[in-house]
């Protein structure tokens, strides 16, 4: 169940857009990039080829030199949140499932976007993606929360396949937030991330603390939550060590891809307070 009490704590946060955006609609989101707009952020000397409409003639009158005005680019951005709803997200060792935690993060981002009167969409994906078109408004947010509370987690994760489907509906440069446990083939994850790299991309990995710190040992019967496969094995200290290394390598590979495409990569255990997770996510930008 998604707990929305934390929304009040998010009022002090604002999601900053990093990429140049182009839209016919004007929004109020702050940008770190300069371009066409109204607010002047500085001057520079005129260079041949610059738009002569940007020359500040009053400065020319005082200095006899041609200076052009630099404006903060105005922006209007849609936030696409892709939320993993595969069966592996249904795992919990401390009361809150990975999906619940991920959904709270997704809704939190939706809340921040709604406050800025921007459009957002939360689409869940597993073997296929359930695409929701982006919309504005608190009503849409509450509808989305209600929908997420009803969702049945099922199946495996086909990340590449799902991102391919979703990419078609991103019409302009947007913020894309992917929240998943990323327990799927690294090549598939890489392909999906490259596909979304044209956007301002935030990748959030969610894990359960029990997945990182294995406390079990000896003979065990392992159940695959996504496929139902059963496997008997012996968990030795050496296997635990190898498991930790392989897990680190897997997420290291995702982090490396994110660095390569300029995406933010964040990783949260479900034992991290949701406010701290948001603080970390917003601080990173």
């Amino acid at each position: 169940m998604i707990d929305t009490d934390f929304f009040n704590q998010l009022n002090r946060f604002s999601l900053m857009v990093r990429k140049r955006v182009s839209s016919v609609y004007a929004g109020s989101r702050r940008s770190v990039l300069q371009g066409k707009g109204i607010e002047i952020v500085g001057y520079r000397e005129y260079m041949p080829g610059d738009d002569i409409r940007t020359i500040d003639w009053r400065v020319y009158g005082r200095t006899d030199k041609l200076y052009i005005r630099k404006f903060e680019e105005e922006k209007n951005v849609t936030t696409h949140i892709l939320l993993d709803s595969s069966k592996s997200m249904d795992f919990s060792s401390n009361g809150i499932t990975k999906f619940d935690y991920a959904a709270m993060l997704a809704c939190g981002f939706g809340y921040l976007v709604t406050r800025e009167n921007e459009k957002f969409a939360i689409s869940t994906f597993g073997e296929n993606i359930d695409i929701n078109p982006p919309k504005r408004g608190r009503g849409f947010l509450l509808h989305t929360i209600d929908k997420l509370n009803q969702i049945q987690l099922d199946g495996k994760t086909r990340f590449d396949h799902c991102t391919m489907q979703y990419e078609k509906m991103i019409r302009s440069k947007s913020i894309v937030i992917v929240i998943s446990d990323f327990l799927t083939d690294l090549d598939s994850i890489r392909a999906g991330l490259y596909r979304l790299s044209a956007n301002d991309l935030i990748i959030i990995s969610v894990f359960d603390p029990a997945e990182y710190n294995l406390t079990i040992g000896g003979d065990v019967k392992l159940y695959d939550m996504e496929t139902g496969e059963v496997r008997k094995t012996y968990i030795s200290p050496k296997l635990k060590e190898e498991y930790r290394t392989l897990l680190d390598n897997h997420f290291g590979g995702i982090r490396e891809t994110c660095m390569h495409i300029g995406a933010d990569f964040l990783s949260f255990g479900t034992d991290v307070p949701i406010f701290d997770a948001f603080f970390e996510a917003v601080k990173a930008r």
């Binding site: 695959d224 200290p237 897990l247």
Partner: protein, 612 residues
């Protein structure tokens, strides 16, 4: 497959508890951790072969433990198979010459003999080491037993009695069908004895064949050595022989107690001898080493052992001032003789030996013999010499004889030869009168008169010894023993015997000598420490028995002569007669190797799982 020890197969019952333990072990826990399953799947894709193996072998540790027990049980049951092999079929007795000359050459003649011997090993093999007394190294062993036994044999520094070895081999083979193979360099052998033994073996239907090893080799060696007392020290003389066709100059190094004390050299003409002498040798271990670098090392060193004898303090009690017995005792080396006139006597505690010479009935104070009994009981010695009144004196039953009177001339004879009567001709002593006496119980009469009266007798009393000498202290009215040349020798021998000092030759022996120890005891030999009750000096060098050091040397010119006598061609090129026969091949050793490998693999597996 046949088993030599089928009862050991009962060991398979040990598999039951292992299987039960695995059957009753707790069921695996049900775990749902998505990341763990994901990572294991990922690993499985990378190691497809291992995963397939894991599917077949669910619990490798159990399989390993079961295999371990199965292989161990099988190994204990000693399985074997029968194969056709080319071997000697009969019981073969191999006689290996282990004499000193077999140590010559590089590789040594003995090593070559051992290699040859492996070719003569049959299904049933006995191995005899021909030393001066033959030693059975293996009796009716298998091929593998013989191979192992051969590896542990080594030559010694004695002569070889091959004739006796053949007779011993004949008795081991007994009524069986068999053959004797003698492998030797055939130098320094008693060919008549060998021929006689061979004939005896042939008469019993046992074939005796010879195999000669070795070639002529150069040698310069110490072939004789003699140690003699000279004054306060000892003189050593040895003979060094050059067996080479050319003149040689040999550096000689002398060391005492491990420290070099002298260097010298000696030039010896071809096939000639030279004497080398050392004087004033002090107690300790002295080694004369020839630095010749020839083919035989055992005769390049002479070991000399001189015991460190403590000064023996002797109290001579006599009414006479300087009797011949006292003069003889005073002349002995390492002794200090004091003569006192009774009745006032010093404390006996300051003396090792008390000699009572001529005394009268009233000479000694009452209780003197009581004190002497305590003195002897504490491990020291008493010699009582005959005198006219001895029979009338109460000796507190200390004497080994009881005296009943006096008699005239007598002829003496040695009843029991002892260390202190060696080389002394008592038969030649002219006796004018002697005491009529009789041995008491537990005494030993060594020399007796023709009337059976003991003239020289001894007995043990407590920890000490009491000797009765019927010769007196040297009165011509009694006998002429004190005028004879062997009189001082008699006293030296009796004092040495009583104080536990042996002849110098007892400390310097030739190899091959047997030394009975009475009971098992530890002996330090030149090659290590052994426990034995009958020591054979079969190596040159120093031996330590208790606190006694003994030097053993070869001193044998025939063993030092490394020329190999010409033998018929077939003797040099003898090959074993072989037949195809069934041979039992043991498999237990291979199984034990498998068990060890499996145990190692199990440890490795546990370590790989991080559990060790």
């Amino acid at each position: 497959m046949p088993f030599a020890n089928p009862l050991a197969l009962l060991g398979f019952s040990s598999l039951i508890p292992i299987v039960i333990l695995y059957l009753i072990k707790p069921k695996p826990r049900d775990i749902k951790i998505p990341s763990l399953m994901f990572i294991l799947d990922m690993e499985r894709k990378e190691q497809r072969y291992q995963t397939m193996l894991k599917k077949i072998v669910r619990d490798p540790l159990m399989i390993m433990q079961l295999l371990f027990l199965i292989l161990l049980t099988l190994a204990m049951a000693s399985p074997y198979y029968v194969a056709k092999e080319t071997v000697r079929a009969d019981h073969t007795a191999i006689i290996l010459d282990a004499s000193a000359s077999m140590q010559a050459e590089h590789p040594s003649r003995f090593d070559r003999a051992r290699d040859v011997a492996t070719r003569f090993v049959s299904g049933k093999t006995s191995i005899i080491l021909a030393k001066n007394v033959p030693v059975v190294a293996l009796q009716e062993g298998s091929r593998s037993d013989a191979t192992v036994a051969l590896q542990h044999l080594k030559p010694c520094a004695t002569t070889a009695n091959i004739g006796d070895a053949i007779l011993l081999a004949k008795s081991i083979i007994g009524a069986e069908k068999g053959a004797i193979v003698v492998i030797s360099d055939f130098s320094n052998i008693d060919s008549d004895s060998i021929a006689a033994s061979k004939m005896l073996a042939n008469a019993a239907g046992i074939d005796v064949t010879y195999k000669q090893v070795g070639h002529d080799a150069d040698n310069i060696g110490i072939t004789y050595g003699k140690l003699e007392r000279k004054g306060d020290g000892y003189g050593y003389t040895c003979n060094i022989k050059n067996y080479i066709d050319s003149k040689k100059t040999i550096p000689i190094k002398i060391s005492r107690n491990g420290k070099k004390i002298l260097s010298d050299s000696l030039t010896i003409a071809p096939h000639s001898n030279e004497l080398f002498a050392l004087s004033d040798l002090k107690p300790g271990a002295t080694v004369v080493a020839l630095q010749s670098g020839d083919s035989l090392a055992v005769d390049d060193r002479a070991y000399i052992a001189i015991p460190d004898v403590q000064k023996r303090r002797i109290l001579f009690i006599s009414e006479n001032k300087n009797p011949p017995a006292k003069i003889a005792l005073s002349s002995l080396p390492d002794t200090e003789c004091t003569i006192v006139k009774p009745p006032v006597l010093p404390s006996f505690d300051d003396y090792d030996l008390v000699v009572i010479g001529y005394i009268t009935k009233d000479s000694l104070l009452p209780g003197t013999f009581n004190d002497l009994a305590s003195f002897v009981g504490s491990g020291r010695s008493l010699v009582v010499l005959a005198s006219d009144d001895l029979g009338k004196i109460d000796t507190d039953n200390l004497l080994p004889v009881s005296i009943s009177g006096m008699k005239g001339p007598a002829v003496l004879k040695t009843a029991i030869p002892t260390a202190f009567t060696k080389d002394i001709a008592f038969e030649d002593v002219s006796v004018n009168k002697h005491l009529i006496s009789k041995s008491i119980d537990e005494s030993i009469a060594v020399v007796v008169a023709d009337d059976e009266s003991p003239v020289l007798a001894y007995r043990k009393s407590g920890a000490g010894t009491v000797v009765y000498s019927g010769f007196g202290e040297g009165d011509p009215a009694w006998n002429d023993f004190h005028t004879r040349v062997d009189y001082p020798i008699f006293w030296r021998q009796i004092v040495d015997w009583m104080s536990g000092v042996r002849e110098i030759d007892e400390y310097n022996v030739r190899t091959g000598r047997m030394y009975p120890l009475g009971a098992e005891q530890e002996v330090v030999t030149p090659t290590g420490t052994i426990v034995t009750d009958n020591l054979l000096f079969d190596d040159v060098g120093g031996y330590r028995i208790g606190d006694m050091d003994i030097a053993a040397n070869l001193y044998n010119p025939k063993e030092s002569d490394l020329s190999v006598p010409a033998m018929p061609e077939e003797v040099r090129n003898l090959e074993p007669d072989v037949v195809k026969t069934d041979v039992e091949k043991d498999l237990w050793s291979y199984l034990i190797i498998l068990v060890i490998i499996l145990a190692g693999f199990e440890l490795y597996y546990l370590r790989a799982r991080g559990e060790l």
